[in-house]
């Protein structure tokens, strides 16, 4: 099987074997001309089998993801980022934290608090792309266990590091911690060329996006704090 799929406004012609992959990618199908081709070899499947005991039909998409990440970084100044991204009035906001802190929960509180004007972009692995000097946050098919997201790309206004707290409080994140957060939550590099490209993308993000820390209690009141503290 094959199809053309758009991730972060890049059209990939992807060849695959399993229906699970087709279902996962369905919302990202496009009629556009592909600008990159992704095919998997036997060794790519083997690699995933070594990494996980899950049936291969569920792992195929990860092998594809590994290849897409390389193309995105090398040719399109784009990186996969671990976090939950939402869109509000045309801008993107990205919440990040170690797994289990409550990124998805916070995104859900925001949805409850703001209603229809807030849209989920991706709940686990959005893509950040620098296009013509603008930093964009985009959806991807890898959107977490709740499977919520949409195939949109909007300017990234802020990145917010979530922390549990006894009261809701939002404050700017220092430059040093912003850099640390970026490194911890994004892709790695395997060559000097890739490292330089990654640093170019990350430095552009640090330069043009606002960074915050949100200390939050685990209820909907935290949505008001992030809305008023960084989304107005």
């Amino acid at each position: 099987m094959q199809g053309v799929y758009s991730f972060a406004k890049v059209n990939f012609l992807i060849e695959y074997k399993y229906r699970y992959t087709r279902e996962l990618f369905k919302a990202y199908e496009t009629c556009g001309e592909p600008s990159a081709v992704i095919t998997l070899s036997d060794s790519d499947y083997e690699f995933e089998k070594q990494k996980s005991k899950a049936p291969i039909e569920y792992l195929e998409n990860l092998a594809i993801l590994r290849k897409i990440i390389k193309v995105l970084l090398n040719d399109f100044s784009a990186v996969l980022f671990h976090g939950s991204a939402v869109e509000y009035r045309g801008n993107g906001y990205l919440f990040t934290a170690p797994s289990g802190t409550g990124k998805s929960t916070h995104a859900r509180y925001l949805k409850e608090y703001l209603g229809d004007v807030l849209n989920y972009i991706n709940d686990d692995k959005p893509i950040i792309r620098v296009e013509n000097g603008t930093v964009l946050v985009c959806g991807s098919a890898w959107n977490g266990k709740h499977g919520i997201g949409s195939n949109i790309c909007v300017p990234l206004k802020a990145v917010c590091l979530l922390k549990r707290g006894n009261e809701n409080k939002i404050e700017p994140l220092s430059n040093a911690l912003a850099i640390k957060t970026l490194f911890e939550q994004t892709v790695s590099y395997s060559s000097e060329e890739e490292a330089v490209k990654l640093l170019n993308v990350l430095s552009k993000i640090v330069e043009s996006v606002n960074f915050y820390t949100l200390y939050c209690v685990n209820d909907i009141s935290s949505a008001k704090t992030s809305h008023e503290g960084m989304m107005l």
Partner: protein, 92 residues
Amino acid sequence: MKIKSGFILREMSGDEQGTYIVVAVGEASKNLSGYLTLNETGAFIWKMLEKGATEEETALKICEEYDAPICTVSNDVKCVIETLEKIGALDV
């Protein structure tokens, strides 16, 4: 002194103070798996060493550049050099 190959210095300026980071690739990443942060002066020292300057030459150049007394400067240079030695970035 020389900076070994495989180390990359990059400015990451989110605020007015310059922040620089160093990452390593290939062999070099054995001693530096994440990244190292340098301030403006640290990056200046790095760039001097990259050109092959000695510790003394580097210190003197900084005195000129930042109009600072030699004693404080030599200490800073020593500190940065020690850090760079720790991550295996220096060819002495």
